[in-house]
Amino acid sequence: MNGGEKIVETLGIRKVYEMGSHKVEALRGLDFSVKPGEFVGIMGPSGSGKSTLMHIIGCLERATEGTYLLGGQDISSISDRDLSLMRANQIGFVFQTFSLISQYNVFENVEIPFLYRKETRNEARRLAEKAIERVGLSERRYHRPSELSGGEMQRVAIARALAVDPLLILADEPTGNLDSETSKNIISLFQDLNEQGTTLIVVTHEKEVASHCQTIYHLIDGQIVNDEGSA
């Protein structure tokens, strides 16, 4: 890894959305970085640019200006196809609404990313099984999402993110749809993963979740106002 220090590094990134003649500046020259094995929280009120930052880090969107280095590689101006490759190989997503495909069972949902990667069928199966085991859902691998609780669905989403052994996992309000007990379990799972070396970035507005992060960035109006912890 270039520099050996930072997995994610943004340098003066701006994101402007054009809505007709109206322009909305979601991020205003943001500098942000994450080190390998770090557990980072991003907090802020609605409209502060948390999700936009998350989407840019997750290669779902491009910044209007500035530089974004992922694993030391500048991806500010790479093609849509290469962005897809980055998502397939380097990033795992966990969403607030779980984002599982309802007609697939647990195993099939976890196996989806391998459809877009180069692993053989047997290798994909092995990795998917391993990820399901890590989140403790081996017994339920042939259940459909509709037969699972909210916490279990989020575990499936985490297993799907983990299965491809990504550079980092991005979680957008991962406990937003869960009760407090289930939320604790999910946070605990994140902590376990982090202890095993997984780099995590979590967007949240829950202090309980943020309290487990090593570094917390506060975003207001597209700018980081302060950061706490080890950053």
Partner: protein, 410 residues
Amino acid sequence: MKWDKILRDAWRALFRHRLRSFLSSLGIVFAVMAVVGMLSIAEGAKQEILDQIERLGTNSVIVRSLQLTKAQEADPRRRLSQGLVLSDANALKNTIHTISNVAPVKEVKASLPISIAQDPFEILAVTESYQLAKNLTVRQGRFVSVTDVVRKNLVCVLGEEVSRLLGDGGHLGEALRLEHRTYRIVGILHKRQWKYSKSPALAVRNYNRVIFIPMGTEVTDVHEQTRFGEISEIWLRVARNENVQACAEAVRRILNQKHGGVEDFQVIVPQELLIQAQKTQRIFNIILGCIAGISLLVGGIGIMNTMLASVAERTREIGIRRAIGAAQEHIVVQFLCEAIVLTTTGGCIGIILGAGSAVIISKVAGWKTVLTVWSVIVSILMAGGVGLVSGLYPAVKAARLEPVRALRHE
């Protein structure tokens, strides 16, 4: 790409909305059914016609005597022509050097023995060359010979069925009484395949039901039926296929001259009929192609509509797939596969129904139908092609969705 998984997913997505998938593929089902059914009928008709033309012989030219209408009979020019006569056959043989065989035929009307009088048998007065002209093969004895014709021997050759129906009287050496004369049976033909033809021009005789006698032996008995020397047909065999057209033209010219322009004969050229049949077939194929094209277009619009609905309701799924690494081409392939699986399945059902309807038509209407491998392949390819074309726009539309917007879609 992991094609097995992509195809399985496509199948599952379609099966999940099976009623919608079924209804939207009905257009393709009926289009392919119509194409396969019509191709089977067309192929059957084509084979039947070609078969009959082939049996007439593509290197043959046939001259048939025509009955004149009352108006033509009243025409003074009528007196210039004796009708189709034996000397016409000789004139053609002597004038046109590309002709290898000339076989004059006279249909004879004579009373038959009582045992076969009820059946529609034909008596033909022929020369020895008729055997070669029609490729007749003798099972027992021999065919009418040159000597029989020259000496006017009272001998006859029987078709297989005639011999069979005559029983003991139908064997070699037995006597057969036709009108007031007794003919000796000198030959019996092999059984020959025969099919009824609706077209008089293509009608082929059923040689199993024919009694052959030497040309000239019939004159004494039945000369009052026709004018002296008048014959029914002349079969001409041309040595080389490429000379058939020129030979037919020469025949028309010579006979017109000999008959003083009286149209009391008809020249049939199987090769011309073959070309005509092929032209008709081409026109039929074009019409069929247009019908199939319109049906498939309508079917394709239905498929496109369904795929657009599918893309709209699965926008979030597209967002999820994009977020976890699917490139635009993966999404295009996924939706294209669904469209192709949908139309190809519809095509397969259409082929089964089309083949079934061809069988029913052949049983009910008595038409010959033939289901060819190429019509099945063409139908499948057509159905798949419609899936490809009609699925392309929805698939590209799906792939171009912005991942973030697609993810936010409820």
